[in-house]
């Protein structure tokens, strides 16, 4: 046990050293090459290592996340503006204490699952938050560019310009973003007619990534169930761990690929069947990237200027040639 622990510590220390070294030499030619700050980052969540911090009132990752983010959510106006015509608002300001689901005040929670697999009963604790997709529809089709995927890999909502229309939640395969009504810029425009608050979710501690630091949840985890680092190194490590435990990956292919890789000792379909799902509690089922079906037409759009220019040149050349070749007599054929 001790040997194993020592070995485990040693391996973890080695991994940390590797990640640090990789960060320190940089990943490319960006302006942050020396520190790795700002480079594409991924996160590994090793489900086999997370125990949900049973000794704590609130798991360490959640605690750290809330300490960093809770103060940034403004207090909503009272009363909330009436939303025409449906009148539906979402207000979590009286439920800030909730830590067992995603809310505008809680961007990370532990999903619990009891699973039978390989003749063994597994009590699993799964940290859940935004997956930070490689090509996130929540960001690309935000009508106001209030949501954006940054070079760090973090998908970040700018709460200063978000209208809270919840389009991002609708197109997110996991319905991650959570709305708080009564806050944000929509209050200054036409709160009854347009917008309904601000959407909130994990931003992967984008500000810290820019400084070359880890997300706070990663640093807070006492069991190193969460790791973050250069994208390719983390992806390779996730594959290695999954192979070693005969386990499974989630997030590598989902929604076209994400910056979050779950390594699980049990099949994901069993976890998905076991977890409680609903608002603020996302599934863990396979996900196809819905936007993929728009890519062909999008490529046609990108080609259309060349098509129009070419057609115009050919048609004009034909018209000019016809004009030169024709004579008044020919044109006035009876």
């Amino acid at each position: 046990m001790n040997d194993g622990k020592k070995g485990g510590i040693s391996r973890r220390a080695l991994l940390k050293a590797t990640l640090t070294a990789a960060l320190s030499v940089g990943l490319g030619s960006s302006g942050h090459a020396h520190t790795g700050a700002g480079c594409a980052v991924a996160t590994l969540i090793d489900i086999s290592r997370c125990d949900g911090c049973p000794e704590r009132e609130t798991p360490a990752c959640i605690q750290a996340c809330r300490q960093k983010n809770l103060l940034h959510v403004p207090e909503p106006v009272d009363p909330l503006p009436k939303v025409f015509p449906r009148g539906k608002t979402e207000d979590f300001s009286g439920r800030k204490h909730l830590t067992d689901r995603l809310t505008p005040y809680n961007y990370l929670f532990i999903h619990k699952a009891e699973v039978e697999h390989g003749g063994k009963r597994w009590s699993l604790n799964i940290p859940r938050r935004c997956m930070h997709c490689d090509n996130p529809a929540c960001a690309t089709i935000c009508p106001f560019a209030a949501n954006h995927k940054h070079k760090t890999g973090a998908v970040v909502i700018d709460s200063d310009i978000c209208f809270g229309g919840a389009k991002c939640r609708t197109v997110c395969p996991w319905n991650i973003p959570q709305r708080q009504s009564g806050v944000g810029i929509y209050l200054q425009i036409a709160p009854t007619l347009a917008g309904n608050g601000v959407m909130f979710k994990c931003d992967l501690c984008h500000d810290r990534l820019l400084e070359g630091k880890n997300p706070v949840c990663v640093d807070a985890c006492p069991r190193e169930a969460l790791l973050s680092g250069p994208r390719e190194i983390i992806r390779a490590e996730a594959r290695k761990r999954a192979d070693r435990m005969g386990g499974h990956l989630y997030g590598r292919e989902e929604n076209g690929g994400t910056a979050t890789l779950y390594v699980s000792p049990v099949p994901l379909e069993k976890i998905d069947a076991a977890i409680e799902k609903g608002p603020g509690r996302p599934h863990m089922a396979p996900v196809q990237r819905r936007m993929a079906k728009t890519d062909t037409l999008a490529n046609s759009v990108l080609l259309s200027p060349a098509i129009g220019l070419t057609a115009g040149i050919l048609a004009a050349a034909g018209a000019l040639k016809g004009r030169k070749n024709s004579s008044p007599e020919e044109e006035r054929k009876p």
Partner: protein, 287 residues
């Protein structure tokens, strides 16, 4: 293309088939872009549009985006075709001329019953200004839309500043496009302009109307147009004594339709308006 029967008598061609197709392709795809663009906002579900018969799709942002892309292919292709096709042929009739702003004010005043409107070339001065304005708006929409499209497929992590600019240029120019479209519709509601509407469907307007309101155009096309025999009823009353008071200029500019500099000396047989008129007025014309 050329009129062969008596149905076209007393008419003059204002647009050829290419121009009509260009106009309607841009108009219909543009309208589709406006509607599908609006449905990229989260409003269809909120405002019960999805509950209307046949409108359930309006709440599906990704399906609306597919329609938006499909319409964009037509819109961009035809817009670029339009620019290249007409620039290479030297068609400049729709480009603003010096003094158009002042003339436009006079025209608008005349619509309000104050003063007389000036004589027109093929297009009204405010049409030329509106065309330039719409060209800028469409260029802004196309450029910003292409950036957004490229981002959607290949570079979701492109510069946030660029994404922000492209998004807001697209949004602001969308509003301008809708306003310009509304102004376009308002222009054809104005009574003196109504006889022009038929040309965007059929290519032709009344020769009487052209002689009364667009004599500078007729002069540019050919001197034969001046004093050409007129058949049929006038579609628009001509202001009393107008022809006598405001004789057409001797030195007309380039023909906007056929690009002949001195149309009187060398009327271009390739000019469809000239050809149509010659066919309509020739003694051997079929009726």
């Amino acid at each position: 293309m050329s009129p062969k029967t008596g149905e076209k008598q007393n008419l003059i061609r204002r647009h050829n088939l290419t121009e009509i197709v260009e106009h309607w392709a841009i108009a219909l795809s543009g309208l589709t872009l406006v509607i599908t663009g609006i449905f990229e906002l989260p409003i269809a579900g909120r405002y019960y549009i999805t509950d209307l018969p046949g409108m359930k799709w309006s709440g599906d942002f990704i399906f609306s985006l597919e329609l938006h892309y499909a319409a964009s292919v037509i819109f961009i292709t035809v817009s670029l075709f339009h620019v290249v096709y007409h620039v290479l042929q030297g068609h400049t009739g729709l480009l603003p001329k010096k003094g158009d702003l002042k003339a436009s004010v006079e025209v608008i005043k005349s619509f309000l019953g104050r003063g007389e409107e000036p004589l027109f070339h093929k297009y009204l001065p405010e049409q030329r200004l509106a065309y330039a304005g719409m060209a800028v708006i469409i260029a802004g929409l196309i450029i910003s839309g292409l950036i957004k499209t490229y981002k959607n497929v290949y570079a979701p992590d492109m510069s946030y500043a660029l994404v922000m600019w492209a998004t807001w240029v697209h949004n602001v120019f969308f509003v301008l496009f809708v306003l310009a479209f509304a102004a376009h519709m308002a222009a054809i509601v104005i009574k003196p302009n109504r006889p022009l509407v038929r040309s965007i469907f059929t290519g032709y307007i009344s020769l009487d109307y052209a002689k009364a309101r667009h004599p500078l155009w007729l002069e540019e096309i050919s001197p034969r147009m001046q004093g050409a025999p007129v058949r049929g009823e006038r579609e628009t009353p001509v202001r009393e004594g107008r022809e006598e008071k405001e004789p057409v200029q001797e030195d007309a500019g380039a023909c906007t339709a056929c690009n002949v500099r001195d149309a009187r000396e060398a009327p271009d047989p390739d000019c469809e308006a000239v050809r149509d008129h010659q066919e309509n007025t020739s003694p051997g014309r079929k009726t």
